[in-house]
């Protein structure tokens, strides 16, 4: 088991290197130098050269990459081209806000999804299956940014139930600040609910078709112990999808954050794109992708801990 974990850790290294290459390469497949695009056309060549040197854009590409990677590993993502503040400072604050949304959205979405899927599978073909499957299908088909708008429309415009913009002031009491979370979290939870719900349904149905479930009843187990067995068998694939979905929540929050004006990493990325703030953009993507890789690594290890057949 330990061996498996260590080996998986080693396998993550080339992936992370590849990720860094892609992130770095993305910026450089775009024609034109970031500085050229940023500087006004009338700027003198000297100033431009100076700026390039300051940001390291004068060196050969592979050197730029190595330098950037070396610093990034140490947590130094340089300065923002837009406002010359350290990138990491901006990013860490934004990430914290995004994580609050993502974790709550995941918790709500995953638990609803598991519930939907389990009920659908156990009542296969009967009315609860139809209702819960329909909910799950709606969940995966909803454009969440539209759903956000509809929620705002309903809860903030037509009725004055919830605040719809921003995340509230730090000075507000906790209860009031929590209110700002309600709509974004509900919005974010819809897609994971649908996706997880469908997978849980399919996986549990598959397990129900296996011989050992009959054998469990044959040895006299009652309903709940049997469900426990089913849950443990269904856990590995569902965990894997949860890992992926959590990553999508982090990345996909950009749309929801835009609607709710939530100061998270998605908002930051959006701003960086429009300001062509390359260091911020690179850092945001790299950090999110690295987190995603590590999360999937943890999921793999958790899967192996549950299902001994996955360990080798």
């Amino acid at each position: 088991m330990l061996l498996f974990a260590i080996r998986r850790l080693f396998q993550a290294i080339p992936i992370l290197l590849g990720v860094s290459l892609v992130v770095f390469g993305l910026v450089h497949i775009v024609p034109g130098n970031p500085i050229d695009m940023l500087m006004p056309p009338e700027a003198s060549p000297e100033v431009i050269a100076q700026m390039k040197a300051a940001f390291g854009f004068d060196k050969p590409l592979y050197m730029q990459y190595l330098l950037w990677l070396l610093r990034a590993v140490q947590g130094d993502f340089g300065l923002s081209v837009f406002n010359a503040t350290p990138v990491w400072g901006q990013l860490s604050a934004a990430l914290r806000n995004t994580f609050v949304l993502a974790i709550l959205g995941a918790a709500l979405g995953f638990s609803m999804g598991i519930l939907c899927g389990m009920v659908s599978a156990l009542y296969h073909g009967r009315w609860p299956d139809k209702v819960f499957s329909a909910i799950a299908t709606v969940g995966v088909s909803l454009p969440h940014y539209w759903c956000a708008i509809v929620l705002v429309l309903f809860c903030a415009v037509l009725h004055d139930w919830m605040p719809a913009q921003g995340m509230g002031d730090d000075s507000l009491p906790l209860y009031d600040r929590l209110q700002y979370l309600v709509l974004p979290v509900i919005t974010l939870s819809l897609i994971p609910m649908g996706v997880i719900g469908r997978l849980v349904r399919a996986t549990v149905l598959d397990i129900l078709g296996q011989d050992f479930v009959g054998a469990l009843s044959a040895k006299g187990l009652t309903r709940w112990p049997v469900i426990r067995h089913i849950a443990k068998n269904a856990a590995p694939p569902v965990l894997a999808l949860m890992g992926l979905q959590f990553g999508y929540l982090l990345g996909g929050s950009i749309l929801v954050e835009t609607v709710f004006n939530w100061p998270g990493s998605g908002n930051l990325l959006n701003l960086a794109i429009f300001r062509r703030d390359i260091p911020v953009l690179q850092a945001t993507i790299l950090v999110l992708a690295t987190f995603f890789v590590m999360l999937n690594l943890l999921v793999d290890i958790a899967q192996a801990a549950i299902d001994p057949r996955i360990r080798r």
Partner: protein
């Protein structure tokens, strides 16, 4: 059937199973009767689709909800068909338990062997987990699994086929069942392992005195283990009798065909005597004897109904011409 002295532990009367789904109505089991005393082994011998496994599952209450089951089943004098789920769960794994063809598929892959056995004991006897584990160890030793202590912590996929089947038997015997239902337990095993399992079952039966219903398609396995054999075709027992009667003096043409098409030693150079055609479609069973379309002795009477012929020795065959075909 001739059951005289002691009361049977298991009695089945007119067991019928139908699968009705959409437009098909499959008559899987069509009126099966038998009874079984403690320490006795009945083998249900039949080919795939003859309804032998479905009969076992019906006894265990393991069939899906759309299966229509009728008839009467008494276990130790108590009627068990249609019992509420909770009462049924108490019987399953307790008074009656089951072993399966593919132990790999019938064991939960993500729990250790020890956990799975202990779970059954805890469920039925309400003891604590530690006691249950100790019992599980004893059971593994009883089914002669070498280094049982270590095996207790093994997952199913870490064991060989024979070991898994032994573990499955240990699991089934956990609560000392009066009746053991065995669904082709030796089919998936190698020859050298198959005979070990058969001998083990015979020995355990002597020690524990349970009754066994052994389902198989293998004539050899049937000869090794059974006291009585019931030959099943298209959901019916077409012939029953002691192992010796059925193997030596088969009355029903199907039994004879089955025995003559089973290859055994010393048949080289002779063409095999076969049963023509293939088994009937259970959704469209012909009236009368289901074997008639493939039977070389078939007469007009076979298409109407099937008389039961019983000999004075207790053997039974469902065949119009059983009496005249009976070997002298």
């Amino acid at each position: 059937m001739a059951d005289t002295a002691s009361t049977p532990v298991l009695r089945v009367e007119d067991l019928t199973v139908r699968f009705t789904r959409r437009n098909t109505d499959v008559a899987a089991v069509n009126g099966v009767d038998f009874s079984l005393k403690a320490g006795e082994t009945l083998t249900i011998l039949g080919e795939s689709g003859s309804g032998k496994s479905v009969s076992l599952k019906a006894l265990m209450g393991l069939l899906p909800a759309y299966a229509g089951i009728s008839g009467k089943v008494w276990l130790n004098g108590q009627e068990i068909l249609g019992l509420p789920a909770a009462a049924l769960a108490k019987l399953r794994g307790g008074a009656v338990s089951m072993i399966f063809q593919e132990p790999m598929a019938a064991l939960d892959p993500v729990y250790t062997i020890g956990e799975q056995i202990a779970e059954t004991i805890v469920q039925h006897e309400g003891c604590d987990n530690r006691t249950a584990m100790k019992r599980a160890l004893g059971l593994l030793e009883q089914v002669k699994i070498p280094s049982a202590e270590r095996r207790l912590k093994n997952f199913p996929h870490e064991m060989s086929g024979g070991m898994r089947q032994r573990a499955m038997i240990a699991l089934a015997l956990a609560c000392k069942p009066g009746v053991l239902l065995a669904d082709e337990p030796t089919t998936a095993l190698d020859v050298t392992v198959q005979i070990q399992i058969l001998l083990l079952l015979r020995q355990l039966q002597e020690e524990l005195g349970m009754a066994i219903v052994f389902v198989t398609h293998d004539v050899g396995a049937a000869a090794e283990i059974s006291d009585r054999i019931a030959v099943m075709y298209a959901g019916r027992f077409v012939e029953t009798g002691t192992t010796r009667q059925v193997m030596r003096q088969p009355m029903h043409p199907y039994t004879r065909g089955l025995l003559s098409s089973t290859v055994h030693g010393g048949m080289r150079g002779r063409a095999l005597e076969t049963i023509p055609g293939s088994p009937p479609n259970l959704a469209e069973l012909p009236p009368g004897c289901a074997f008639a379309p493939r039977c070389r002795y078939a007469a007009d009477a076979c298409r109407r109904d099937i008389p039961v012929v019983t000999t004075e020795t207790g053997a039974m065959a469902r065949c119009v011409r059983a009496a005249e075909l009976m070997p002298a």
